[in-house]
Amino acid sequence: MNIIVCIKQVPNTTDVRIDPVTNTLIRDGVESVINPFDAYAIEEAVRLKERCGGKVTVVTMGPPQAENVLKEAIGLGCDEAVLVSDRKFAGSDTWATSYTLACAIEKLEGYDVILCGKQASDGDTAQVGPGISTHLDIPQVTYVKKISEINDKAAKVERMTEEGYDVVEVPLPCLFTVVKEINTPRMPSLKGMMRAKSAKIAKWTAADLEADPAALGLDGSPTRVVKIFTPEARKGGEMISGTCDEVAKELVELLKGEVV
């Protein structure tokens, strides 16, 4: 079974601090990590390989340093890695990103299952996974929390909904976006880390993709930013002080009529 995982490198949000004066993000020294939601996709891909046999190829589109998250993915059990990187991809919104990744996937030697995290922690759009499946014209199931059954032809999966879950049958090839309920990602093994160190990462540019140049990067992106601003801060209110019992009493008094 040919399994493909699409990942994104994102800033490690636990490192992000806010400058109290300018109220902007301090990004100095913030490292890039695998998008947390993609870690579940990588783990599920490796589990599928263990279940059905085959090969896991991890793909990312990003700047040259995104090679690091690909190496990390190899350490976690992926077999091959492709970095899709070119200045021509700069400015891509989700339309152009999913197009570029779909072109890269088509260049690979066939695929049965494509896995993506449900969304990226820095953009939160949840649009690229469905975008890839649409460009490739394959079925998708989003928000997958369990792959109950799978063989060469079809899979039975559980899709998380607001009320519970749906049980969905889908023919292969298909694309899944996965939620964190699907598994607990393993730690990289020593052997994996050794492999990651020496792993050769394939590097593809726009010229390698046979893509329509007009559909790449900023040129291929329907959306653009026109204005940025710092959100109006909500004003802090009253501080209540005293002993525990005193503050509890005062708070109840303050909330009377309003909610209590």
Binding site: G91, G129, T134, A214, R224, P231, R234
Partner: protein, 399 residues
């Protein structure tokens, strides 16, 4: 190929662009902005931030599409088991304002089975027109038939804007439709407005990690598509007797074909209330210290008749399931009362709760950012204050 350049004669060296760049790609040299092309992602944040039009993003002009046939504002109305979901009324409320400003019709789009009556009722929520596709294959959401029908509707009737809920269904569907119709799509908008002259949908959302808001447009593509999270917009008021024109559409059978097959829909009613619907939320963060301490919040929530929420760190520590997470990667909530216990108030959390009517914060760190948004703040040990609050609220509520 697109590129970016600084017009040195216009650059005043004010450094606004340096602050705006989320990628650390701009620095000043001789009081002029210099862009490091190795880091620049052409996101356009600096262009939007520059007050002197000194930075220009050059985009290859694609084939110009005639945008004039596109009119009306559409709302995709989500139904489950034949019941219109409240997100649809929220979008109709917002859509009504946008349609009025643009001077066009507000149209609801409803896909389902045996939904004729429900479709007619959408007029009472502000819709002027309802496009209804009624077919057994549309009874429950499936990607293929829903995408095919919506794409057909868009191509035939050409709306200028479509609003859709940022729900499991909405996000899965509209992403596919945007690709198929070559449209711009902006996720999780927290504010929507229109530029009447240019007929642009101005879509505002948190960007680059959240503490910057970005307004996004799709100037050369139609329809302009946006998703909005549940509870971000106000529901359209019910206007009994208000009528809408219902246009029922049917398509050849192959339009309804689905490669996926829905075998079962399982409802898991959790013992606790869904936090998106709760009027009172008691939420805890890392500062609660342990799973046992966190459990106290459930008691406080029970006394108040509310639900329990959590910050991401409490969820990551396995003190409570993910369905309770509030914030950027969790749910957006707008309760009447939000009590934040041991939550420092990272921006990602604040995004999900700062529209609550009254916010109470309890934290031992007087400098915690949560106090900047709190209506009432208490500095102290949560594990002493929460029991005191339980006692006092019990007394006040005669429990």
């Amino acid at each position: 190929m697109a590129s970016i350049k600084v017009h040195l004669e216009k650059c005043t060296g004010c450094t606004l662009c340096v602050k705006a760049c989320a990628f650390g790609a701009i620095h000043m040299a001789d009081r002029k902005a210099v862009i490091d092309m190795a880091k620049c992602t052409l996101c356009g944040a600096c262009v939007a931030a520059c007050k002197f039009s000194a930075i220009e993003l050059e985009k290859a002009a694609g084939p110009k599409k005639d945008l004039t046939p596109y009119k009306d504002v559409w709302v995709f109305c989500e139904q489950k088991k034949g019941v219109i979901q409240s997100i649809s009324y929220e979008l109709l409320g917002e859509g009504r304002k946008l349609a009025d400003k643009l001077g066009v019709k507000l149209c609801a789009v409803l896909l389902g089975h045996n939904m004729k009556e429900a479709a007619a009722k959408l007029g009472e929520r502000g819709a002027d027109k309802v496009y209804l596709a009624d077919h057994p294959a549309l009874k429950a959401y499936q990607d293929d038939p829903y995408t095919a029908v919506l794409v057909n509707l868009v191509e035939e009737y050409k709306p200028e804007a479509i609003l859709c809920g940022a729900t499991v269904i909405g996000r899965s569907l509209i992403s596919r439709v945007a690709i198929k119709t070559n449209a711009g799509l902006t996720a999780d908008c927290t504010g929507l407005d229109v530029d009447v002259k240019e007929r642009l949908l101005l879509q505002t959302r948190p960007a680059f990690g959240g503490n910057i808001m970005a307004t996004i447009i799709a100037p050369n593509h139609r329809p302009q598509m946006a998703t909005v999270r549940h509870k971000v917009m106000k529901e359209a008021e019910l206007q009994p007797g208000r009528l809408a024109e219902v246009v029922t559409k049917s398509y050849p059978e192959e339009t309804y074909a689905s490669r996926t097959r829905l075998l079962d829909m399982v409802e898991e009613l959790s013992a606790t209330m869904n936090i998106s619907e709760a009027d009172i939320i008691v939420a805890g963060g890392r500062g609660m210290g342990s799973k046992e301490n966190f459990a106290q919040l459930e008691e406080l929530a029970k006394v108040l008749g509310g639900a329990v929420g959590a910050s991401r760190s409490a969820v990551d520590a396995d003190w409570i399931p993910y369905s309770h997470q509030v914030g950027q990667t969790g749910k957006t909530v707008v309760p009447k009362l939000y009590i934040a216990c041991g939550i420092s108030g990272q921006i990602q959390h604040l995004i999900g709760m700062q529209s609550s009517k009254t916010i109470v914060a309890v934290n031992k760190d007087p400098d915690a950012p949560i106090f900047k948004v709190a209506t009432y703040g208490i500095v102290g040990d949560v594990n002493e204050i929460v029991p005191a609050l339980i006692k006092e609220f019990k007394r006040a509520l005669n429990k």
